[in-house]
Symmetry: C2
Subunit: 340 residues, 2 copies
C-alpha cells in the first residue's frame, strides 16, 4: 500500500510455544518486521528462528540476551511471552524499558499488576514513564473473554447487578504446557494436593475479577477461588499425553467477587481434555439482561497471539507507563500494519 | 461516596420517546444532574419534565430553546436525541458547541458523519475543536451491535476474511416511531413503493458497514443495500398499531460491503412485529473463526439509552472535535458517575 512507510520493528522476548506462534503471525503480517528473538533455553539459543518454526531460514537466530538480539538495532515493540508473574518478569520488563522498547506482554498478572504486586507495578510504571515507553499486559484469558469483553458488553446496560462468565476449553487441542497446567493425567489425589498448594490452576482468574470490578467501580471486599479436578469419564490420548478414566482430565477453576457478602462477579473456567462442546458464555444480570454465547469458544492460542499483535497500534499510541486493556481504545484486528 | 464531588451537569436535547427514556435514566444515575430539557414540540414545551414522565414534579420544564433551558447555567454534556441525519442536526450541534457543551448524540449518521456529509462533518469538527468540546454519535444500532462489537471481537483474530452480522428485533415491543419506521401495518405494495423512495428502512446500516471497513483498513469500492417487507403470517396487535395477515409486519434490511467484487461485510437486520426469537449474531470468518450469539438480542431502547449515558465519561475525557466510537477507550457501564 505504502512502500515508503517504515515497518514496525518487532522484538520477540520469550520463544516458547506462544512466542513461536506469535513470531509465525508477525512474519505473516504486512507492516511488521521481526528484528530479533530472545530466549534463554539452551535448546533454542543459536538456532535460526525460521528453522525452529519449521519454515525457511530467516537469518535471525535466537539470542540469550536482549543486547545480542538487538545488536545495535532499535525495536519499536517487544512481544513478551515468558512467565505468568509480575515479580518474575519485572527484570525482563525493566531491561526492555531501559532499551526504550514498548511492550505487549502475555504475563497474566500484568493485566492488572497492582492487584498482586503493587510495589513492583509502581516501579515498572515509573520506569516506563521515565523512558517514555508503554507496557500492556493482555491475552485472551485473562485480557479478553472473562474481563474486557464483559466490561465492553456492559456498555449497553443501564445498570449491572452481577456479571457471570463461563468458559469451557478442550485442553486436548492446546499446547503441552497448558495441558500440564490444568493437571491432565494426574491422579485425583495428586491433583487435589497440588491444587491445595496452589501449584495447579489458571493464572489470571482473580485478575479478571479485579479488572471488571475496577472498571465498574465496585469495591470488592472479598475474592474467593477454588480449583477442583474434572475427572475423566474415559481414557483420552492427546498429542502430548494420556489421561486414564478416573484421572484428572483437567480443572474447574471458579473465582467469585463479593461486596457485603453479595456475589457480584462469578467466573467459571473449565479446561480439560475431552471437553465436547467448548464455549464462552457471558451473562450480565442487569438492565437490559445480556446473554452472549460463543459457539466453540474463542480459540485459545490463536486468539492469545492475535490479542498480542492486535494491541501493537494502541500501545504505540498510548501514554507512557503501565496501561490497562479497558482504558485503551477499543481493540480490533490489525489487518495490515502498513496503514498505521 | 464523595459528597463533595461536583455532579456532571446534563442537558437533554430532544424529548421524544428516546429522550424521555434517557432522562428517566439520568435521574436514576448517581453523579448525574439534569439541568434542563430542550424540545420544540408544542405538546411538550412548558410542561414539567417529571410530569411528562409520569413521575413527581421536577421543577424543570421543557424549553423550546437552548438559551431558555440553560437559563445561565453551564452544562457539561448534552444528550442529543432528535433526528437521524447529519445535515438536519448540524444547526442543533452548532448551538450546543457554541455554548461550550460536549455532546453524545443518537443521530445515526453521526456514527461516521463523513460518509454521507463530509462537508458538514468537517465544519462540525472544526467548530468543536475551536470551542474545545467533543461530539460523539453512538447508540446500540448503529453504534454497537453491528459495528463496534464486531470490530471489538475481531481483536482476537489473526486475520479476518469477512464479517457477518444478523439482528432480529421484535418491533412489537418497541416504541411507535420505530414500528412506523419499519413499515409495520403497511400493505406490501405501499411498503415496496416507500422502500423504493427510501422512505422506509433502518438509518445507519451503511454507516455500520463504513465503520467496520474503516477500522479494519478495508477500502470498499461498493456498498449495496436492499429493503424488503417481512410479511405478517397472521394478525398482530401491538400497543400502538395493528398488522393484518399479509401486510408488512416490518422490514428486512440488508447491506453489503464489497472490495473487488468480493463481499467482505454482510449485515442483515430484520425488525418486525411478531419476531419470535429476537437475537443478535456476529460471525467473523477469520483465524480463529468467531461465532457469537446474543439470546434475546441486545434490547433496543434500553440499550440505546445506556449507550448514550455510558459514553459520558469517555466523551468528557476525549480530545475535542468529532470523535468515533472505536477510537475512544473501551466502553463499559457507568454505574456511579460520582467515581469519575
Amino acid at each position: 500500500m505504502n512502500p515508503n512507510k517504515k515497518k514496525i520493528k518487532v522484538l520477540q522476548y520469550g520463544f516458547g510455544p506462544i512466542g513461536q506462534e506469535t513470531v509465525r503471525a508477525v512474519l505473516k503480517k504486512e507492516g511488521l518486521e521481526l528484528i530479533g528473538v530472545v530466549d534463554i533455553s539452551p535448546k533454542l539459543v543459536g538456532k535460526d528462528v525460521g528453522e525452529i518454526l519449521g519454515e525457511k531460514r530467516l537469518g535471525i537466530s535466537v539470542k540469550q540476551s536482549l543486547a545480542e538480539a538487538l545488536n545495535g538495532q532499535k525495536a519499536d515493540i517487544a512481544l513478551h511471552t515468558t512467565t505468568s508473574f509480575v515479580k518474575s518478569v519485572k527484570p525482563q520488563l525493566e531491561e526492555l524499558i531501559r532499551a526504550g522498547i514498548n511492550v505487549v506482554s502475555s504475563t497474566e498478572e500484568l493485566l492488572i499488576p497492582h492487584l498482586q504486586s503493587p510495589g513492583e507495578a509502581k516501579e515498572i510504571d515509573e520506569l516506563a514513564k521515565a523512558y517514555n515507553v508503554t507496557i500492556l499486559g493482555t491475552g485472551v484469558n485473562p485480557g479478553f473473554v472473562m474481563d474486557t469483553l464483559p466490561l465492553f458488553l456492559s456498555s449497553t446496560c443501564l445498570d449491572v447487578k452481577k456479571i457471570e462468565a463461563r468458559r469451557e476449553v478442550d485442553a486436548g487441542t492446546r499446547r503441552l504446557p497448558l495441558q500440564k497446567k490444568v493437571g491432565a493425567g494426574l491422579d485425583v489425589d495428586d491433583f487435589k494436593k497440588l491444587a491445595k498448594e496452589k501449584k495447579l490452576g489458571h493464572i489470571g482468574l482473580i485478575e479478571s475479577i479485579a479488572l471488571i470490578a475496577e472498571g465498574l467501580g465496585w469495591k470488592l471486599d472479598d475474592i474467593q477461588e477454588s480449583v477442583e479436578p474434572v475427572v475423566a469419564d474415559k481414557n483420552y490420548k492427546t498429542k502430548y499425553l494420556e489421561v486414564q478414566k478416573g484421572q484428572a482430565a483437567g480443572l474447574k477453576h471458579v473465582a467469585k467477587g463479593f461486596k457485603n457478602k453479595e456475589e457480584l462477579i462469578h467466573l467459571d473456567l473449565r479446561m480439560y481434555v475431552g471437553a465436547k462442546e467448548p464455549y464462552d458464555y457471558i451473562h450480565i444480570i442487569g438492565t437490559p439482561e445480556i446473554k452472549c454465547k460463543f459457539e466453540g469458544g474463542i480459540a485459545g492460542d490463536q486468539a492469545t497471539v492475535a490479542s498480542l499483535i492486535n494491541s501493537i497500534p494502541r500501545v504505540l499510541k498510548a501514554s507512557p507507563g503501565l496501561v490497562t486493556m479497558y482504558k485503551l481504545p477499543v481493540p480490533y484486528a490489525l489487518i495490515n500494519a502498513n496503514v498505521l
